[in-house]
């Protein structure tokens, strides 16, 4: 049986703009049919990565492969890749139909095929009735759909999306995220999306490549990225995290026992703690800390004082302080009135499960802390 080649493969790619290194020695593989998101802060190089795949930029060193073929020197119009631009880049002199048909016309498809394909994608993005309008006459959301339809119409092997939802308002953005995911499942095309919005990345992606300073900080499924951040940058960029340093206290029973600033201890699987390292940073997600007015059984429990309480609707955000002076953020669901209420000034017992304590590595390129 043939193994399908990866949709996209970047091999040791470096791209500099003058003195600025946008992408450094970066390798990445995108499997056919997957929805991969390049997530990172602005200026991290994620857009450059997209442009390298599209062919708008040529790498200084390294190669770009699409579907198992080296396309490093191929211009954009020879690549089986279409892009949804951040500004949509709809042609203002063409109506919706002609915008969508543009790629097909460039491929010199028969008129009948063009018509049926245009009708098909218009149905796909729910734009029926807008065919004769000019882009200027559409709402932001509609323009976004036209851009999507235009890029999908030629049935590219890979669809690139450069911050496609950033111009939409929050509510529409959420709808479109779901829509995008649905669309990708429906057409089965490989999607590579660039965004700086971690929530969007988590919603739409199969896998996320976290990009920082021209390198990939972490690549993994959305679950892996969230639950097992590899570095302090990863932990902080996605979701919220309590980051602090701990020291190895002892090993035993297949566990590595860590001592926190406040004096309490928690055990993690011994394999999670590297050999010959005494101190490391760990991450605990705020919702993984359980608060109670009564002492909970088991290890990983410690006492603390609630110093601040912020009402956030469905949940509360607490700031607690341990006896050793360590401040932690805790998110707790606003549960039913049957449960005891916790308020600022209360003394509480906290519990953390060993699995929720993530021992972090160093930031990948070792150039200090994330912003």
């Amino acid at each position: 049986m043939n193994v399908k080649p990866p949709a996209v493969e970047l091999r040791q790619v470096t791209k500099r703009f003058g003195a600025v290194v946008a992408v450094e020695e970066l390798s990445l593989t995108v499997q056919a049919g997957e929805f991969l998101t390049l997530l990172g802060p602005s200026g991290c190089g994620k857009t450059t990565l997209l442009r390298l795949i599209a062919g708008f930029e040529a790498p200084d060193t390294g190669t770009v492969w699409l579907g198992g073929v080296d396309v490093t020197t191929l211009p954009p119009h020879r690549r089986d890749v279409n892009q949804v631009f951040q500004s949509y880049a709809l042609f203002p002199h063409l109506n919706v139909r002609d915008n969508i048909a543009f790629g097909l016309r460039m491929q010199r498809r028969p008129a009948a095929e063009i018509a049926s394909r245009v009708a098909e994608v218009i149905g796909l993005v729910a734009l029926a009735g807008c065919e004769d309008r000019k882009p200027q006459q559409l709402s932001g959301g509609q323009r976004q759909r036209v851009a999507l339809a235009r890029a999908l119409a030629p049935r590219p092997a890979i669809l690139l999306l450069d911050e496609p939802l950033s111009a939409l308002d929050a509510r529409l953005r959420q709808t479109m995220q779901i829509e995008l995911k649905r669309l990708q499942r429906q057409v089965g095309t490989t999607f590579v999306l660039v965004t700086h919005d971690q929530e969007e990345a988590l919603t739409v992606s199969d896998r996320i490549a976290l990009v920082n300073r021209g390198r990939i900080e972490q690549l993994g499924t959305t679950q892996e990225i969230y639950h097992q951040p590899a570095t302090p940058f990863a932990a902080e960029f996605i979701g919220q995290a309590n980051l602090f340093e701990v020291e190895l206290f002892r090993r035993g029973d297949g566990m590595a026992w860590l001592r926190f600033g406040g004096g309490f201890e928690v055990g993690v699987a011994t394999g999670a703690w590297p050999e010959n390292v005494a101190r490391r940073r760990v991450s605990i997600r705020p919702e993984k800390i359980h608060l109670s007015k009564t002492r909970l059984p088991g290890t990983g429990a410690f006492e603390a004082k609630v110093v601040e309480e912020v009402f956030k609707g469905a949940h509360n955000r607490f700031t607690i302080e341990t006896a050793g002076g360590l401040r932690l953020t805790v998110l707790a669901a606003n549960e039913s009135a049957l449960r005891e209420a916790i308020h600022a000034g209360d003394r509480v017992w906290c519990a953390v499960h060993a699995d929720d304590v993530v021992v972090l590595g160093e930031t990948r390129n070792g150039r200090g802390q994330p912003p």
Binding site: A54, G55, F56, P75, P76, H77, V81, N82, Q83, F85, Q86, S87, A89, L90, F91, P92, H93, F102, G103, M106, Q107, R150, A151, P154
Partner: protein, 288 residues
Amino acid sequence: MSPGSAQRRRPGLTAWLLLAPLLLWLLAFVVAPAAILILYSFAERDELGRVAFGFSLENFQRVADPTYLAVFGRSVGYAALTTVICAVLGYPVAWCIARASEKWRHRLLLLVMIPFWTSFLIRTYAWITILKSEGLLNGLLLWLHAIAAPLELLYTPAAVIVGLVYAYLPFMILPIYGSAEKLDPALLEAAHDLGCGPWRAFVRVVVPLTLPGFYAGVLMVFVPAIGMFAITDLMGGARVPMIGNVIQDQFVGQARDKPFGAALALVFMLLFVAVYWLLQRRAERKLA
């Protein structure tokens, strides 16, 4: 505005006051001169060359004389050729300037505009120095042994076209540049992305989107080029009269027949309006 939502409001006093400078400007520089021209065109010339007001269509009959129609046709022909050459030369230049980096863009624009800092006459004399029999170009060609005897360059129709193109090229470049510079580079990338090679992207996207600037350029070259007379005098040896020469002659030349000059100018102006209107309609249809 939704249909029937509100009655159209009449402009209030403030609105009129705000419009006053524009209206005054139009009155002083558009309406008044046009009115004088119209009034003159129906008048007659007295013995001394003064305007004797009256109502006569004779001037318009004279405009229709084959002599003047031929002059008119020639002026339009020269202007059209000038416009075509300016477009062919100016479009790529404007496009390249618009695509250059910001630093270079400013320098290149400056180069386009530097000739304006010198008197038009001096620039035309410079061309005479280049094109004359014992001029720089013939000197160069003789020195290179490309020719055996000096070429006849000056005082030819070609020299007139060179002069016209030189004079009006910036007026083609600048509006096209204005359009091209506003063009979102992402549109070009989108075209490439959707399978356009550079040439097809240019034809399918760049040309249609820079059309307003192009039309403006065509107007700014074609219209004044019809009326130009200094270049045909200086570089063409005044051998073939242009409509501008004929009109000038009626106002400040020997003919001293202002009413007839006014009639010529009026017909000439109506031609501008017609050309403008046609271009405008085409542009609107393209972009509507």
